[in-house]
Subunit: 222 residues, 4 copies
DNA sequence: CATGAATGAGGCTTCATTCAT
DNA sequence: GATGAATGAAGCCTCATTCAT
């Protein structure tokens, strides 16, 4: 889960990025995250984002970003950057597969406490992008490879005897989907507790992946 | 999971819905489902939907539906209608809570075999609708109440001793999210097997909800 | 010099063109010709063209044409169509190369009498297009092949002994350029007489291409 | 064909033009010539010109020129300055009207060898300017007067018995147009030979203006 | 009922120009 | 003098919607 740096500002020469420019870009990306999380991808127009950022016109956004795709790329990259910074240390501190899985889920959900708009925004963006959108292909590939990575890690844990027997791909998809579901739906209730919710979700998948979960897996109720 | 009938055609007189009219509406809704599943909510314009339906103009759609929101409502309602018809008998055939949960998950995923576009379309629509979209208010409320219903059923099963101890709300969200994740991502792989995948997912949540899942829930890695 | 039919209206199905639609397109193309001839290619915006055509918005133009390139293609095609209709019969009525050359030049200039805006418009368009504009490549190629055709005809006339010795390519370019020059500059003077001007220009190139034009071609003044 | 000095930098005080300022202006004008010749008038934006000039921002251009018109005026003036320096000595070295005409045409085309971008650029600019562009009024008048001057010289040569009988205005326009045509089209072929081409074109107009060009001017095909 | 042309709002983008630093 | 960020006016285009036929 590395951060992928975006392109931006049709860079035909070797113009380095100024400090001020970087600040403006960050400001716009931040405004975009807010707006996307609040009104959804479809209605997150440059007009709305500009207003949120306190800019006078949409031209400003086009001035700093090569296009809407570019801005969206930066939005995703920024969220990944933040998420990486928060999650990776917590994950790497674990030595067991189940520990890492729990750290992954919990730290991901906990992010909603510090950055309530980041994950909802990225779920919106990634849910509204098609892999045939040319400029977004890289991101879709990155997302897919992330699921692939999880699938691989799960499979390793199974071989090592840490996890039980189940389809690692479905498990990876379920984890991803469950997190997204919580991010999208639960985050907007008033008394949402990220820590408790993360622990619950981690518990859930801990039970679902555990090795000694009994031998009669659902044979009785079909 | 009942079907909610849509509004459609500003009914100012006493005009009942004719057969032709109903057929046209069904045709348009079907085309909309196809298009939404294929190109996504954002790009599912009236033009594209009309083309898919073999209609010569978008005026036809506006004539039969009060607006885009109305059409989308009908899309969701239609998918629910189909899903209800397929899922409810299978769920009600079960007598245990875990049996019903399994039937719910499996029959839901199996729908992808018979109606590959229906669920992806509804996920797209529901992911792109806000509760503050005026006419969508009561619709989103219905969606939320669905999760509430599941939450309630889970809680009952816990009281009855069928399920273990966990937050029923998080579980409901996780189930919903995991299914959506599988629907969205797995539906586009070529060799997708709905039955096998549904069983895997049902197994997963069976383990996650089971009562005797061991008592040492991940205490070692926190 | 055949007319090339344009594309227009993103035609993904088999939708034939309606009579009304064809009329609107013709109206818009006519307005575009007027505007381009009057204010030049650069300032011939959709807004101006719509106003000239009596349309309420620029959206109307985009509705009937796939884009600005498409409209420009139609403009050129329309002018070619008119020019072909007028010029080809007059050219083909001639049996000698010099007769055809004269008929070509005269009929071309005479067009300014009946359609004063057509040729200036097309000169504007073709002068503001680059061959790397993708969608205009075909037209540039057509223009180039037109000069090539002239070059070829001149060469044949030379072989047949009808024309004197000179570089046919330069001659073709000079004819093209001279006509364009007259079209652009002379057409806007009030007392412009197309017939007389055409005859003068034809005389000029008749002298320039004639076989027995003396043997000491400019050797004395270099 | 005299150079007309441009306006530039709203001069409200008594500030003379410094050396640095002049150098900057020349640098920008040179870059503009390159860009215009390469991408055409329409796409020759300040951004592109600034990049070509190695400038970091377009503000630099606006600072040194009163506006785009002003820059374009300077571009034309600069090309005229160069052209005058090259052509005038060669023209004045001739004593006959036909010699001067030949020298004019040949030296003009030969300029393409030394300054391949200058003439194409000026043709682009002059083709995209209207006399009603406010600040361009007197500039276009100067251009017209140039053709008038040629017309006048031709008429004098006719009175002196050096040239045959023909409409001097049409001849002047044809020469101008033919040169522009060669400049525009021939300049982009790889193996273009300016000297040979100029001689050919001069030969052409030598034959067209000569006195004893035979008396039966195309009487057979009218 | 159906058609398809017309509308008008709104979206993204580009551009010349201005201004604080 | 120079820089580069900001501005605001157009420009082209798409879309849902309306309306005469």
């Amino acid at each position: 889960m590395e951060a992928r740096s975006g392109a931006g500002k049709q860079d035909g020469g070797g113009s380095a990025r100024t400090f001020t420019e970087a600040a403006r870009r960050a400001q716009i990306v931040g405004a975009a995250i807010e707006v996307i999380a609040e009104v959804g991808y479809t209605k997150a127009t440059f007009t709305r984002i500009a207003k949120q950022a306190g800019l006078s016109s949409t031209g400003m956004i086009s001035y700093h970003f090569a296009g809407k795709d570019d801005l969206m790329r930066e939005v995703v990259a920024e969220v990944f950057r933040v998420a990486d910074g928060y999650m990776i240390p917590r994950i790497e501190a674990q030595t067991t597969a189940s520990g890492r899985l729990r750290a992954f889920i919990e730290s991901n959900i906990e992010l909603l406490g510090e950055f309530p708009k980041h994950l909802p925004a990225v779920v919106e963006v990634l849910g509204n992008i098609r892999s045939d959108d040319s400029s977004m292909r890289e991101f879709c590939a990155a997302m897919d490879s992330l699921v692939d990575t999880h699938t691989h890690l799960i499979r390793e844990a199974q071989k090592a005897g840490e996890f039980g027997e189940f389809d690692p791909r479905v498990m990876a998809l379920a984890i991803r989907g469950a997190i997204d579901g919580v991010v999208t739906r639960a985050a907007k209730v008033p008394d949402f507790d990220p820590v408790a919710c993360g622990r619950e979700l981690a518990d859930l998948f801990d039970r679902a992946t555990r090795k000694d979960a009994g031998k009669d897996t659902g044979k009785d109720n079909r």
